[in-house]
């Protein structure tokens, strides 16, 4: 598996001269970012982006670690065979037109490439994938340009997905939210490499601290259980095809049947896997998990300049089983030094709508250093004239696990211009839900 992510060189089979073609974009992304040699392969040998083009991988002198195939489905067997002869052991097949079409021809074509792969001992990711991504060495073998899909910076999350579109969205949204990523794989029809292989690899990969994925069906139940049992890292999964409606949608696009959801869900619980209920939950959880922080207990303190959001956060914390202890008299006295008389120090700590950055700083420092709480939820009603983007400087100093709730137009502006990562949520309930997740992780 290692060479899928850390090849010394890559051949792009089907590297195209036409700018809009998939084979062109993949080659361009790799040429610009990958820290290693990239070989374009195409029978038409005019240079692409100034690079010498090889008619076949067999014409490349150097040994090749990884091949990306982006040619028409009908040509895949031929070029895969050439990969085999060249001794390439890792191949990503981007091309679609196989079992996912639901046609007999597609299924047969997939069987044929399976045979070739077996004959030559080639490991395959795909077919029907948007590619793979490794932030560490610039291995961006996806067919999307930055202008359409933003790519995340380096981080500790590794993500796998059958669905290519989910892969695209994940890259783009994590980048937009300033969340870093280690590796991402869209494994498509899972002809060979599947969810179990990827969890297994990520669970030993040094750069990966959090494993996340979107699963439609589990191909190899026994191995899946085995890798979950062995895994020691945080793992979050979102399941598609939980219901008969979803299963129908699944089978229409990735050529697999949805598993029995209840069985699946119980297995996840057994192995301490965090199950995201919705797409939004998945992204929200990744956001807080990417901080690498774990809350030691369930004692939450809410600091707010917006009474109403303090109430909503409190209600939701109760509902999710978090604790909201009242601060000790000593702690209350300490906070009161910096608060007006009409502020509340009971938890939520309501520092009132006229709070300025300094008041936030004083109170947050006291609570961050207190032993009475395990985590902080900080509500910032940024719409008051007393506050602006400099609140970020205060928030980034917090050591305890925390989440920020900040919403509206000014918040959007701040988030857009944020150069660092902060776990900011648009609603109090989403922030509480995320904190709950890190209060359940084992160190």
């Amino acid at each position: 598996m290692e060479k899928f992510f850390y090849p010394k060189n890559v051949a792009v089979i089907g590297a195209s001269h036409e700018e809009r073609k998939i084979g062109h974009v993949i080659f361009k992304n790799l040429l610009e970012k990958f820290k290693g040699k990239v070989y374009p392969v195409n029978p038409k040998t005019e240079p692409i982006l100034g690079q010498k083009v090889y008619p076949s991988v067999l014409d490349i002198e150097e040994e090749i670690d990884l091949a990306i195939i982006a040619v028409n489905a009908s040509i895949v067997p031929k070029v895969l065979e050439e990969c085999g002869k060249k001794g390439i052991k890792n191949v990503v097949i981007i091309s679609s037109g196989f079992s996912e079409t639901g046609s007999l021809e597609g299924k047969k074509a997939e069987e044929k490439i399976k045979e070739i792969a077996r004959a030559y001992g080639i490991r395959i990711i795909g077919p029907n994938t948007i590619g793979i991504f490794n932030s560490e060495n610039g291995l961006d073998a996806t067919f999307f340009l930055e202008k359409d899909v933003k790519k995340p910076k380096e981080g500790c999350i590794s993500f796998f997905t059958q669905s290519g579109t989910i892969g695209i969205l994940t890259l783009d949204i994590l980048a937009k939210e300033n969340i870093g990523i280690a590796k991402l794989v869209s494994y498509g029809n899972a002809l060979d490499v599947n969810e179990a292989d990827l969890i297994e690899y990520f669970s030993t990969d040094e750069k990966t601290k959090v494993i996340a994925g979107f699963i439609e069906s589990v191909r190899n139940g026994r191995k899946f259980l085995e890798v979950l049992r062995k895994n020691k890292k945080s793992i979050v999964l979102l399941k598609g095809g939980k219901t008969s409606f979803g299963a129908r949608a699944t089978s229409s696009h990735t050529a697999s049947l949805a598993g029995d959801y209840k069985v699946y869900s119980n297995v996840l619980k057994q192995f301490n896997v965090i199950e995201a209920e919705t797409w939004e939950d998945l992204i929200d959880y990744l956001k807080i998990l990417s901080t690498g922080k774990i809350a030691k207990g369930k004692r939450l303190v809410i600091i707010t300049n917006a009474g109403g959001f303090g109430v909503l956060a409190s209600d939701y914390a109760f509902r999710l089983g978090l604790e909201l202890p009242e601060p000790s008299e000593k702690l209350k006295e300490e906070m009161k030094k910096y608060l007006p008389l009409y502020a509340s120090v009971r938890n939520p700590i309501d520092i009132t709508a006229d709070a300025d950055i300094e008041r936030y700083e004083k109170i947050l420092r006291i609570l961050d250093e207190s032993e009475e709480f395990d985590m902080l939820l900080i509500v910032v009603l940024i719409q008051t004239p007393m506050l602006d983007e400099r609140i970020v400087d205060v928030l980034k100093e917090i050591k305890k696990p925390f989440a920020v709730c900040m919403s509206g137009s000014k918040a959007e502006e701040i988030r857009k211009n944020l150069r660092l990562f902060l776990p900011i949520y648009e609603s109090p309930e989403r922030a509480v839900k995320a904190l709950k997740i890190i209060s359940e992780l084992k160190a």
Copy 2:
């Protein structure tokens, strides 16, 4: 109540010369936007923003319909008494420092202004509010400038809230999402006007089609039930203080005890009130309700160029009890004319990731005109090179009730530059949840 929203003129008592003061901002907002005369009142009579200042309302010659009081709590009784003598019957008291402080003095001060109001027959909104807002006549009596809090354009939603901060956030977020508003009231300590009065007024107000509110406690249970029974409009409520945690937070900031949530929740069901579970749900529901469309049934069709999101939307639709019927053979044949062979026409209609604007247009037109579905969920993976902001021109032509799911950085850009309103959601599940709401409304 009418004169709170449609006064011919307004006196701003405590209109300040200092730019950062509440009394200055309110006067400025009204002066710039209100379609009627505005009188600044302040014992210091130097002109403010070039306008003649009156030492007291008693010095104004004209009859006054509405007074906004933004002076220190200690001066409120005096100026309110003057309002009484002047014959002003509608007063908004912005000032805080009353029962919400939890102090005995605050409570006494509130009792005192209650007595004055009763003596002169004055109706009061407040104290401790961020003000009131009417988009129709530019009555922006809030103490926030556009640079901090965006204000929504005209629309059919009227919103009430005890919590001032929820009022601010609502204005700002509705504006950001291009959702229009009719009227907004922050009624603070509810010394006089409360949630029941406002629901009653909005239920007869011509400009209001949807009533929405954030409630912490119900002051007058009997009247509350009565107005809900009489109301014929769509009504959405979010309750704060549902739990003991939330109730504690509530009492700390608005001087009222949270009611028994279960009783409350059952009452809402009985009167067909839509209860939002979270802040995000509330905004999401307002978004779809502001379209004014009602789905005639539960038959949903999902159109997607992103297989994974089609699966998630289908699962969630099942979970919420919506129907996802397979199109008739006739309809399938009609769609197939415009789709590649590998597309799926089973519902979700997966028009595949290479769909361009034209393909969306053809398929959406067919489904919009079909009698087989009551509403549409349109997933647009906008990250493909085939799509851009021109998709908006296609979406705006749809006649059936619909919601759009579009997420990521390109979607954010499109939403930001959107000149019209479209019910766009960032996740498939949120879009489904919103559609469910309009499938339950009665025409």
